[in-house]
Subunit: 499 residues, 2 copies
């Protein structure tokens, strides 16, 4: 979903506010930021660097034009032109009330307000508002520019239309809005986190486990499950065909076991705080926070991409956003000139496409050319129904030439020429260029039309044959480059004495 607003305001530019700034900008929404801290500009820009780096690795579609970030000296000035305002000031009710009053004073009458509060109920934040119906909780998770969850919580004064509108805005940032049906302190996710936090503190307090051991118990175990299914879906599987009720009846008794620590709260003495800090240093002190951020972000990117290829959970959110931001990919428009090289495909060089020489690795060129071939086949009419009829086109031969290097983040373009065809075959030539038109690589392919049930060559069906014939007048007038049809230059062992 494309974000339905052009201009947002963000009040407070710390870890959470800065993450919101990045999320808005990278979705093409302008942001007006107010933060009284003189250091805010520096910290927000550092976070934006991280976010850009992660986004570039994460997103497969061509880059969205980034929104414009402006800095403002007052809340009222920042919110003046915004359709949506995100509040991220410290978790103290009097500070929240004060800032929300300023937001109300400066904002347009129809602007909506989301609060990042992790603990307060929306009714508590609304208590002193003139128009409390315009504020909901929109609680995100760190790093805000990568983690899709945002809890949207209204109180009795909010209408469903308001939570729906806020959800639409947030979905436009490639987030997953979870509308919480009843307000409650700490919403849903933080209640679960708080439960684990307490239990973790007891384990450390009682010398059962260190921070490292608790983290390992999570990330080598149930954390892997929870990145894709939650508590209940996971247990549903464990319950097997007997069903969830059976599982709960089996597991229920665990609740009566004497795991009494949960019933109490450890006192956070200075000794306990120091013990945790020391264990954390031993666990992670070899990395700077900046390094840990990048490790975390790269791992999140990898996990999100793995889930995207399976269209599951957070990966499905990402896949949907990409599709909505690139409607023309694989669906070429009619304004392509059939008498010129066909501009059917473009993409961006991903982080994991880079080899040990620092350039796009060999087989990724062929991946891009293969995707370009698919775009060409779609262009000449090979669709899902054609494939389902038991016909497809296979590449039988390829000739690749590398002419220049390309690095991560580069936008690359492929044009495709048809060099010739007969009843069963089509010979095409792709040319890959960068934004400056420099040729990076070329690929000549012989494609063969096959019956996929028999795996034997067969003539193109009319649907494709007619489109190919229609391309002939324009494409056959293009002069073929000298390297088309050429083989790899023979060198023998003649000059082996040189070696």
């Amino acid at each position: 979903m494309t974000c339905p607003i052009d201009q947002a305001a963000v009040i407070g530019g710390g870890v959470i506010g800065g993450g919101w700034v990045a999320r808005f900008l990278l979705s093409g929404v302008n942001v007006a930021l107010h933060d009284p801290n003189s250091d805010a500009r520096r910290t927000v820009e550092a976070m934006l660097d991280n976010a850009r780096r992660a986004h570039q690795r994460l997103v497969d579609t061509p880059p969205v034009t980034e929104g414009v970030l402006t800095f403002h000296d007052s809340v009222e000035e920042a919110v003046a032109g915004a359709s949506y305002i995100q509040e991220n000031v410290p978790e103290r009710l009097e500070i929240k009330h004060d800032v929300i009053a300023k937001i109300e004073a400066g904002a347009a009458a129809d602007a909506l307000i989301g609060s990042s509060t992790s603990g307060f109920k929306p009714s508590e934040l609304q208590a002193k508002m003139q128009h409390p119906e315009r504020l909901v909780v929109a609680h995100p998770f760190n790093p805000v520019y990568l983690v899709p969850l945002v809890e949207v919580v209204g109180s009795d004064v909010n209408t469903a239309a308001t939570t729906e509108r806020v959800s639409q805005i947030l979905a436009g940032l490639s987030m997953h809005p979870l509308v919480v049906r009843r307000e409650i302190e700490a919403h849903i996710a933080d209640r679960l986190l708080e439960a684990v936090w307490r239990e973790g503190l007891w384990l450390i307090h009682d010398d059962i486990a260190t921070t490292q051991e608790i983290d390992d118990a999570i990330r080598y175990g149930f954390g892997l499950r929870w990145a894709q299914m939650g508590l209940f879906e996971t247990y549903r599987i464990a319950g097997g065909e007997a069903g969830m009720k059976h599982f709960i009846e089996q597991f229920g008794p665990a609740l009566a076991w004497p795991w009494t620590k949960l019933m109490d709260v450890p006192e956070m003495t200075d000794e306990l705080a120091q013990k945790i800090a020391d264990q954390s240093d031993a666990q992670s002190g070899q990395y700077s926070i900046r390094e840990l951020e990048r490790i975390r972000d790269d791992n999140l990117v990898g996990i999100l991409q793995a889930l995207k290829s399976r269209r599951w959970g957070a990966g499905e959110t990402l896949a949907r956003w990409e599709e909505e931001h690139c409607p023309s990919q694989g669906n070429p428009s009619d304004d392509i000139d059939p008498a010129q090289p066909l501009a059917l495909y473009q993409t961006r060089v991903k982080d994991d496409w880079i080899d040990y020489n620092g350039h796009m690795t060999e087989h990724r060129y062929l991946q891009v050319f293969g995707d370009s071939t698919d775009a060409f086949l779609a262009y000449i009419g090979m669709d899902k129904a054609y494939l389902e009829s038991g016909h497809s086109v296979y590449t039988v031969e390829s000739h690749l030439r590398h002419t220049a290097e390309v690095g991560v983040g580069a936008v690359i373009f492929v044009t495709t020429r048809v060099l010739g065809c007969d009843a069963k075959r089509v010979r095409i030539l792709h040319e890959m260029t960068d934004e400056d038109g420099q040729v990076l690589a070329t690929a000549e392919h012989m494609l063969l039309h096959v019956n996929t049930n028999t795996s034997r060559a067969c003539p193109f069906l009319p649907q494709l044959a007619e489109r190919l014939a229609a391309l002939a007048p324009g494409q056959s007038n293009l002069e073929a480059p000298a390297y088309a049809g050429a083989g790899i230059r023979m060198i023998g062992w003649a000059n082996k004495e040189v070696v």
Copy 2:
């Protein structure tokens, strides 16, 4: 680490026991299974099918020869020849004691015993044993054949040598043994899980959230973080440069907030159990348990592979195991005949290498050929130091021919011939075959030696030049196939009337 034992016994073949069976077998360890349930053979074999499927997608190295599974009518018979015995009977202490007594009666004196118990302390299980020092808790996580965590817990009677030996055996199954320093009911991970479970039950009980909403709050949010870092490392980052102690002092007060539900346990009435079951049906009822298992497994495979490419957490465990199971990859042995095509590379076709036609997708052929080129370059002496000296070899031209199809799971072999070389270039020809020797594809490459600082061609350094020269006598005697040096056959538009 290769598993140091050849023969294990598994007692109890349910969800957990069956998972252990698969984990042992796929690591090359024979398993003797006892389960009194007449259905055990069927369920274990069904689980083994799932595990084989997942393993094939997960592991990059050539397959390990699977262990042999035998079924036995008694505990004593199953454990007789085993070096390690894994107990997985129901969580009732009298049943555990009874089965452990039979294990002691039948097992070799030096066999070690691990219990899958999720709740009991090792001392409770050891209470009636003759040799309690041989039993520890080895608590795994579902699905046992994919999730690496296993908690290894001893009591006062166990020596460090015993927990170390059990950890070695489990690490040999590509698991991550977490030695728990003090026994406690439910060990570490299940205490954390229990905390979340209780809080989740309250949220459902109080109609704050459904099972779906709780699961979404996890999997779109902190679950993504926990697949790679746990609670404390994640919060360390959130604390920023101010450090962990500062973060805790800030966050500490949350513990005093009135989130009192944690202090009590909801009664598991039939109404609550039914409510959960109904919500779970609404959430996941469109999938069979078998479908959910496969979705879960595929997602886990994707997440583990994403982490593997970053060598982090559970991915690091997998990477290490693969390296130890394939020491020769990229490190060719000296028994290669330089007068024959060089057999330097083999791999297996991965699940995500398959295209919409059901065959290995185009660019994955070039990935395999590229890896084969790397193996060849390593063979002629291009090592890390050579690369670090500012020299490398780039592919400038490639000619691929596809001659047969190949599907997921196939083991494929690549041989490499040197067609010629001069001072700066080497021309090679790869041939890819399947296990029956059928040629699947060929790739001819022109490789160019470059100075990576200037990105300009330059002569091979002596280290490589001498190895290439030494290959000349043998390789130059091999007859080049007719397609070497040939271009893609020209077809023009001559017969466009056929179209």
